[in-house]
């Protein structure tokens, strides 16, 4: 069966080729084959398959990947909009993986 993909041209993933050392740490963690090695260097090959889980950015030792990571869950968006907190998977606290800084991954649940 073909890979299921979601909306086109929405994800916040980007790869900074200047910082990338092609170590391949991101290739190991991506569950959607978004990244691949092309002639030795790592490239984004299937952007629309990205689910913004943030695994690649978190595991990149060189801060070469940035993505606004969160859960793709409508109820979480609603809970956040209503200011609800507490139960697990309840909100959309995004972890903003920006080049240079690593976010603190805190759990509110």
């Amino acid at each position: 069966m073909q890979k299921l993909t979601y909306l086109k041209d929405v994800v916040t993933l980007s790869l900074n080729q200047e910082k990338c050392t092609s170590c391949g740490a991101c290739l190991e963690v991506c569950p959607r084959n978004v990244l691949a090695r092309n002639n030795g260097s790592v490239d984004v090959v299937d952007r629309d398959a990205c689910i913004e889980c943030g695994a690649c950015a978190l595991n990149c030792p060189f801060g070469a990947i940035s993505v606004k990571a969160g859960v793709g869950c409508a109820m979480a968006v609603i809970n956040s909009a209503l200011g609800r907190k507490g139960s697990c998977c309840c909100n959309t606290d995004t972890k903003d993986y920006n080049m240079d800084k690593q976010p603190s991954s805190s759990c509110g649940c």
Binding site: A25, V29, P31, N33, A49, A55, L58, P61, C89, C107
Partner: protein, 353 residues
């Protein structure tokens, strides 16, 4: 951080390690394990289905054996131990508060801090001679492998997505194939999610029925009971059809429903249910509903089903937060308008008839 209890049903013995005895676990699942997982699938005891965190043994591991890491949601733990039949490995269970690996990683419970603290508390360097820990690939959103290495000296190796592939992964020299790294969403995985979706919808069905009961009665106080019961029936039928569309057909038919947005897929599924309902009523009862009543059903069922379908984004494995926000910006206003129009039509129909 305490040690895991030996008094857990799946513990079949003890294995000596450099830091004391470790519970040895069975690699065969019993009827109670299957029943426990089934209950969770029906939303019973769902957030409390746990095993003790800490170090376990599978088979007779020694200082050269691989160390596998998982979370303490019992269904995850069961999948892993069953996959390890006939192997000698250490199994390190993190405290993920009973949540599965992927969701726990997304929320940080299956996180770098927890893994580092657990490696330190069980004194892993005394137990094994090597410096590798094997993690489920889907823990990636919570674990920064290179930081674990900096803090503990242990290298994080991401194993396959599915526990069933672990033996092949180990035999392959701790290398995963491209297939082992991909997360899909096949029909079997979608079907098992349906019961929880439906059970969680019941409160909405009852709420809608209750509101329609009150609205029906209060709008026609002269004939309170008859109209209230008619209202409750309308609310019950319409919302149950919405649940069938959004919480059952949407997961089931996901790849084949039109559109990419789940709200669109849910609406299409709701329309399908609406057509079946109206056709069935027409065959059984003949011309019973007015056009405006039929429109009321159409709007309520398709908007409710669209909403329930949209909520399935959270269970799916291929949606992104940016995408969900985008579809909600368009879908939620449409859903609200459709609900208002639907109830308006129903109220109007009540006065006309």
């Amino acid at each position: 951080m305490g040690r895991p209890s030996f008094d857990q049903p799946f513990v079949i013995g003890r294995v000596a390690s450099a830091t004391g005895d470790v519970p040895a676990v069975s690699t065969q699942l019993e009827l109670t394990d299957y029943l426990g997982s089934l209950k969770v699938r029906f939303s019973i005891n769902r957030m409390k289905y746990t095993v003790d965190p800490g170090l376990y043994a599978v088979g007779h591991p020694d200082k050269d054996s691989p160390v596998l890491v998982t979370g303490n949601y019992k269904t995850s733990f069961d999948h892993v131990r069953r996959a390890l039949h006939g192997r000698d490995v250490w199994l390190l269970v993190l405290d993920t508060k009973g949540v599965n690996v992927w969701c726990a990683a997304g929320k940080g419970a299956f996180g770098t801090n927890e893994l580092v603290a657990r490696i330190n508390s069980i004194e892993l360097p005394k137990i094994v001679g090597h410096k590798k820990v094997i993690l489920p690939q889907l823990s990636g959103p919570g674990i920064a492998g290179y930081i674990v290495k900096q803090l503990t000296g242990f290298r994080v190796i991401y194993g396959p997505v599915e526990a069933i592939d672990i033996p092949k992964f180990i035999d392959n020299g701790l290398r995963a194939t491209s297939e082992m790294r991909q997360k899909d969403f096949p029909i079997t995985e979608r079907i098992v999610l349906i019961p929880v979706e439906v059970i969680q919808s019941i409160k909405y069905v009852l709420l809608v029925a209750a509101l329609c009961f009150l609205a029906g009665g209060l709008l026609h106080t002269a004939d309170f009971w008859n109209k209230a019961v008619a209202g409750a029936k309308f609310g019950l039928y319409a919302s149950m059809c919405a649940v069938v569309g959004g919480a059952m057909l949407t997961p089931l038919l996901l790849p084949w429903l039109p559109g990419k947005a789940f709200s669109m897929k849910g609406m299409a599924a709701g329309f399908l249910v609406f057509v079946v309902l109206i056709t069935w009523w027409y065959i059984v009862y003949g011309h019973q509903l007015s056009l405006i009543q039929i429109l009321a059903y159409l709007f309520i069922i398709s908007s409710g089903s669209s909403f329930a379908g949209m909520n399935f984004t959270g269970c799916s494995t291929y949606t992104s937060l940016s995408g969900v926000k985008k579809e909600m910006r368009i879908a939620v206003p449409i859903q609200i308008v459709a609900v208002v129009v639907g109830f308006g039509a129903w109220v109007g129909a009540g006065f006309i008839s």
